[in-house]
């Protein structure tokens, strides 16, 4: 008789800094699993014959295999398995929305005990870093082909990592002074320590990827002039053009886009002034407009800088697009949430600084043809909220520079590059694209998935196929 395994449905929590401590510092909130916790969690996996988790992973990591390695304490093999498909595991283990991907379809989810796949992935990547050395893969002989990668964010880094391992010369052209894209300018230190991003970037550089920073394609050099020197190009320049609500008062001092606010903090290290030389103004009352992960990052950053911090969101808590983990963290730390609230305009003082926001209460209307309940204003519900800073975190489009300087490159309505979903091929010869520049602002792992598909297609093209 075979022994029936008793299901362990208790998901192991990661130790975290207490809210009353962490809201005063920028250190990482979660400490990660200890070896014991990681092994305990991994042993809960029932090793399904049909692994839905793999199918729901944008880069198709062999999840059951690396989980089994952790259960067997074979951590070196576990990280090796992950790295076959994912060159940024320490990052993905922290910021990927696993609850909407691999963990969402875990068999144990039916009993609300889904495996913490992301936390185990993070554990393995951190374990490898603690060993002090990284196994270097063998680099094949040069194929004679050169690839330009525009943008050093998750999509571009993935393409670079994949193509260098196939023997092509790869050069990354990055507009900012550091590689990492949204990982360095967007996601705060308390959610993704920059040392981790630097570690992953250094690994790619050690493989031989060449890097030019402060290089703005479309200004420094056009795509077409790059293609005189390179055999193929991948555009992964992200979505760096912030949207505003286009309401009165958005040009007042103290009204930021989330991009500017977070870049000042994360890339320019504004919170470490005077160690770093670019300070950020200390505000007392900060309102962040929006309800996504970026809005949570801004609100929690404002809190750490000593401000009273509030999220202003025109729908209800149930519709918040941010990850539940981030919402709960923000709530625990003391971020105020104004739900069903819409800013109408901002008023300034005599010096041109924002001093208050006029907001209107909303209610969710009847479902429309699409089934969605859209927020509609409640007449006569306007109130003034005193603020000295507003951060608009409602979304981004791609920067129009590459699109407007590359003839024949087909763009969508919001300026996103149109690219084949399966290959990343654009309307222009020799040009592929992927990540946020194609989809609009999305997730790190989706950008990496697009990068992987594009890398396969570019490789096929360079080796004599059509890349289609």
């Amino acid at each position: 008789m075979t022994e029936k395994k008793v299901l362990d449905l208790i998901r192991r929590e990661m130790p975290k800094q207490p809210p009353e401590v962490r809201k005063f510092n920028f250190n990482e909130v979660a400490f990660g699993y200890s070896e014991e916790l990681a092994v305990e969690e991994a042993k809960r996996c029932i090793q399904c014959k049909k692994a839905h988790c793999v199918q729901n992973c944008p880069v198709e990591i062999d999840i059951p295999a690396f989980i089994q390695c952790v259960a067997d304490r074979n951590f070196a093999e576990g990280i090796r398995i992950i790295k076959q498909k994912n060159c940024l595991p320490a990052i993905c283990g922290r910021v990927c929305p696993q609850e909407d991907q691999c963990e969402k379809v875990c068999t144990l989810v039916k009993k609300e005990g889904q495996l913490a796949i992301g936390r185990i992935e993070r554990f393995l990547a951190d374990w490898e870093a603690r060993q002090g050395h990284v196994d270097m893969p063998e680099i094949p002989e040069w194929t004679g082909k050169k690839v330009a990668v525009i943008g050093g964010g998750p999509a571009g880094l993935t393409v670079a990592g994949d193509l260098i391992l196939r023997g092509h010369k790869v050069t990354i052209f990055e507009a900012l002074h550091k590689l990492g894209g949204v990982l360095v300018y967007g996601i705060p230190e308390f959610r993704l320590p920059k040392a981790i991003v630097n570690r992953e970037v250094d690994y790619l550089k050690s493989l031989g990827v060449e890097v030019y920073t402060d290089f703005v394609v479309g200004k420094t050099q056009t795509m077409d002039s790059l293609l005189e020197e390179y055999d193929a190009a991948f555009v992964g320049s992200g979505a760096g053009l912030p949207w505003f609500m286009e309401i009165p008062g958005e040009n007042l001092n103290g009204v930021y886009s989330a991009n500017e606010y977070l870049t000042r903090l994360n890339l320019m290290k504004g919170y470490l002034f005077p160690t770093y030389h670019t300070p950020i103004k200390a505000h007392k009352r900060v309102a962040v407009v929006g309800g996504g992960n970026v809005a949570m990052d801004c609100a929690r950053s404002a809190l750490r800088l000593g401000a009273e911090s509030r999220i202003v969101y025109r729908r209800s808590r149930e519709e918040l697009p941010a990850r539940m983990e981030e919402i709960e963290n923000a709530e625990e730390e003391g971020v105020i949430f104004d739900f069903l609230t819409l800013p109408l305009r901002y008023n300034g003082d005599a010096s041109g600084w924002v001093k208050e926001m006029i907001v209107q209460k909303m209610e969710l209307g009847e479902p429309d043809a699409s089934g969605r309940r859209r927020p509609v204003p409640i007449e006569g519900s306007e109130v003034a909220v005193p603020v000295d800073a507003v951060v608009c975190a409602i979304g981004n489009s791609p920067n129009p520079l590459i699109g407007s300087t590359t003839p024949g490159l087909l763009l969508g309505k919001k300026g996103n590059i149109e690219a084949d979903e399966e290959t990343g091929k654009t309307s222009r010869d020799k040009i592929w694209a992927g990540g946020d520049v194609v989809t609009g602002a999305a997730t790190v792992i989706l950008a990496m998935g697009a990068g992987r598909k594009a890398a396969n297609s570019i490789h096929e093209y360079l080796m004599g196929g059509d890349g289609e």
């Binding site: 509609v376 409602i394 300026g415």
Partner: protein, 150 residues
Amino acid sequence: MQFESLVAVLEFAVRKEEEAAEFYTDLARSMVQPHIARIFEEFAAEEMEHKRKILIVMTGRPGWIPQARIKDLHVADIVEDVVPSSDMGYQQALILAMKAEKAAYLLYMELSSASEDDAMKDLFYLLAQEEARHRLRFEVEYDEQFSGEN
């Protein structure tokens, strides 16, 4: 503004749609970016479709079915006016369009309330609701495209 007959009202409405189509066509020609030019071409085509619907009514065939008051998301009320320029983006294009539809709605509502003839009052009201429907189409698109995280 005086109208002698229902036909005169409908002819006025047809001219308004033609003017709107021409406005968008001119904008399309002046755009730097082809993908934005295409958007204005689509808007122009939609205005010509509105004109076609009015012409059907003019032939006496049933065209519009009177419907309940159209929902108003009030996006057009809170966003600032857009000054047309050759480097507009999709967000500005939608604002321009929804504000134009709102202005047309308000014009017809005003004409409806100013009208002493019941049939003419009803017709203006119907035209206003049609413009409100167009405005809602742009507001919903704006809501979908630019307010997902708001």
